[in-house]
């Protein structure tokens, strides 16, 4: 039996599922290996569940999605969340630190049209997740690795260590030590290949916290390198804001 693949989307920008379409060289082989039963971004033809491998992009921001993710889970043998939205709530989780009712009244002409929860939460806050693939957006190679590992029945080789590992492996000069540039690499999950430091910028934490993190130890460095309280807060409050907030103990 050809395994059935499904891709679902909650609150998100579509960038992560686009990564799948972006696997141009491998797409044909993949189509031969799985039956792509549900992937609205690629085709409006929809096949029924149950699905063997379900990829979910996006966070839960409405009561309807909270309900929908339960149905998706019930139809999926393996559920993998992809991207910062699905694994950490995404940039839209900034609302978790603010008053959504106030946003709604300020931003929308007809606030009563907006039906939303007060928070944006990762899929894992609602249902069991078999594997979380991090990144904003996810890395193409890592996505293929997750699918390939699933097809081979093995564990995906996705390291849990910091961006610094990848940074040193590719021979980049550390921007913090050599230039005094603030970098979130030491607390961020590897996966991007340490792109930013390779271009002389600090890591922005797109992949969220690494497997083992000591965020309080990094804060004094950010201060030393010119970030005040507000800069530090903004640096940590991007795509994985809630995940880093947990690490900061705030």
């Amino acid at each position: 039996m050809t395994p059935k693949l499904a891709v679902f989307k909650l609150a998100s920008c579509d960038g992560c599922q686009l990564t799948l379409l972006d696997c141009e060289d491998e797409l044909l082989t993949l189509a031969g290996k799985v039956d792509i039963a549900h992937f609205l971004e690629a085709s409006s033809a929809v096949g029924p569940g149950p699905y063997d491998l379900t990829l979910v992009e996006g966070s839960v921001t409405t009561a309807a999605d909270a309900e929908r993710i339960r149905r998706i889970r019930a139809e999926s043998k393996h559920l993998v969340t992809i991207g910062a939205c699905a694994t950490a709530g995404g940039i839209q989780a900034l609302r978790n630190f603010a008053d959504v009712a106030e946003f709604r009244s300020v931003v929308y002409a007809r606030p009563d049209y907006i039906d939303t929860l007060a928070t944006s939460t990762p899929v894992s806050a609602h249902v069991d997740v078999d594997f979380e693939l991090r990144g904003c957006p996810i890395d193409r190679g890592q996505l293929l690795e997750v699918i390939t590992a699933f097809l081979a029945g093995r564990k995906p080789q996705i390291p849990d260590h910091s961006v610094c590992f990848a940074c040193k492996q590719r021979g980049t000069v550390c921007v913090t030590v050599a230039h005094g540039t603030p970098c979130l690499g030491p607390v961020t999950h590897a996966g991007c290949g340490a792109i930013c430091p390779a271009y002389g910028r600090g890591c922005y934490g797109c992949f969220g916290p690494a497997g083992t993190v000591n965020l309080p130890a990094l804060i004094p460095l950010l201060r030393r390198d010119g970030m005040d309280d507000r800069d530090t807060e903004r640096f940590l409050r991007t795509f994985n804001a809630t995940a880093f907030a947990k690490e900061a103990g705030s």
Binding site: F165, C174, P220
Partner: protein
């Protein structure tokens, strides 16, 4: 007595440029220091012009800055972000690949790519020692690493004695510098004084003597030999740091329950930088990769370290789940159990781990604190 000429000679900058040309002419890939992205890195060199002439470094725990010097010295720097292990024991290497044909027959092909014949220009005494240590780990014993062994046995080492140690160097207290006695093909000492900018050069192997003979050099004059000798001797007095003079191996063994590990764990990011820059750390992980077809597999070896949670992952979870236990592993392996495994300390006093630690955790300071705790 060596069966080749070990008489010291003198090279000027043009002579050094000729040395690079001669080595390239012998089919060697010359690797040496050069400036890139605000640091002195190691890279393949096409000519001696790429050396960091006139650049120095200012080093502190957690801090590295390039500085323009008042003179044109090419080798007055230390503790760069890489070491020669980048070339001898690369970050990622494929070991074999396997293909399954339609009949289910497996063909496994070991990777034996042609390895470059390196010439390393400017190997510091500490790094020369580090290479000797990695030789014991990776080329000795029952489980030699083929790739390493081939690259290493073909490598030509041009050592460089230290005349200006950095603020983070402590090779003297680890017994690995600032001069060199053996283990090189050629050894250089940079001399800069009123008589000019020149290099004292001597051979340490038959091939070294052969290369030297290809260069038009003058026999070293007495003054240059003396200046070189006294500057290196003086360098020993100018180490930025020192390891406490004691039996470190015993200290490590006695410190397993020390409170200091909690103190350092509160500061440590567990980012792994110290182990990745350390010239003796050799640990790797192995990945087996399949492709979508399921008919092609590859085995890759890549750097890994004891700061990685997965490094000690056994059934049920990582054995060293706390930063305390991971930092302790690094230090006690480096300075303690390394002796039992490989017959020496695993630290050569190069200072890289403290320079490239973002939060500046200093191995000499941690050891001093452990020593104090042990005696109090």
């Amino acid at each position: 007595m060596a069966d080749y000429d070990t008489t010291p000679a003198v090279l000027d900058r043009a002579g050094l440029a000729a040395l690079v040309r001669v080595l390239a002419g012998r089919g060697r890939t010359v690797v040496g220091p050069t400036v890139r992205d605000g640091a002195i890195v190691l890279a393949e060199l096409d000519s001696a012009d790429q050396l960091p002439w006139g650049w120095g470094t200012e080093l502190e725990a957690g801090r590295y800055r390039l500085r323009r010097r008042d003179d044109e010295a090419g080798f007055a720097h230390s503790a760069g972000p890489q070491s020669w292990k980048t070339f001898l024991h690369p970050a990622r290497e494929r070991q074999w690949s396997a293909d399954r044909d339609p009949d289910g027959q497996l063909t496994i092909v070991p990777d034996r790519p042609e390895q470059p014949a390196y010439a390393f220009l400017g190997v510091r005494p500490c790094d020369l020692r580090a290479i000797a240590i990695q030789d014991r780990v990776l080329a000795g014993g029952h489980f030699a690493d083929d790739g390493y062994r081939t690259r290493r046995s073909g490598a030509f080492l041009i050592a460089l004695e230290c005349t200006e140690p950095g603020g983070t160097c402590f090779c003297v207290s680890m017994g690995s510098g600032p001069g060199v006695e053996a283990g090189y093909d050629l050894a250089l000492t940079e001399v800069l004084d009123d008589d000019g900018h020149r290099f004292l050069i001597r051979a340490g192997s038959p091939e070294g003597a052969e290369v030297l003979a290809e260069l038009s050099t003058d026999r070293a004059d007495e003054a240059t030999v003396t200046t070189a000798r006294t500057t290196v001797a003086a360098a020993a007095e100018h180490m930025g740091r020192a390891m406490p003079p004691m039996d470190l191996r015993a200290l490590m063994g006695d410190s397993l329950d020390a409170e200091r590990w909690d103190d350092v764990a509160a500061r440590c990011l567990s980012c792994g930088n110290c182990t990745l820059v350390c010239p003796t750390c050799f640990c790797t992980t192995t990945e087996e990769i399949t492709d979508l077809t399921g008919d092609h597999a590859e085995r890759w070896q890549s750097w890994d370290t004891c700061f990685d949670l997965d490094f000690s992952l056994l059934h049920g979870g990582p054995v060293r789940s706390s930063t305390r236990s991971r930092y302790r592993q690094w230090l006690t392996h480096k300075l303690g159990t390394w002796h039992e495994q490989f017959g020496s300390s695993g630290c050569v006093g190069c200072g890289r781990c403290l320079v490239w630690c973002p939060v500046g955790i200093d191995i000499t300071e941690e050891v001093a604190a452990l020593a104090e705790e042990a005696t109090s």
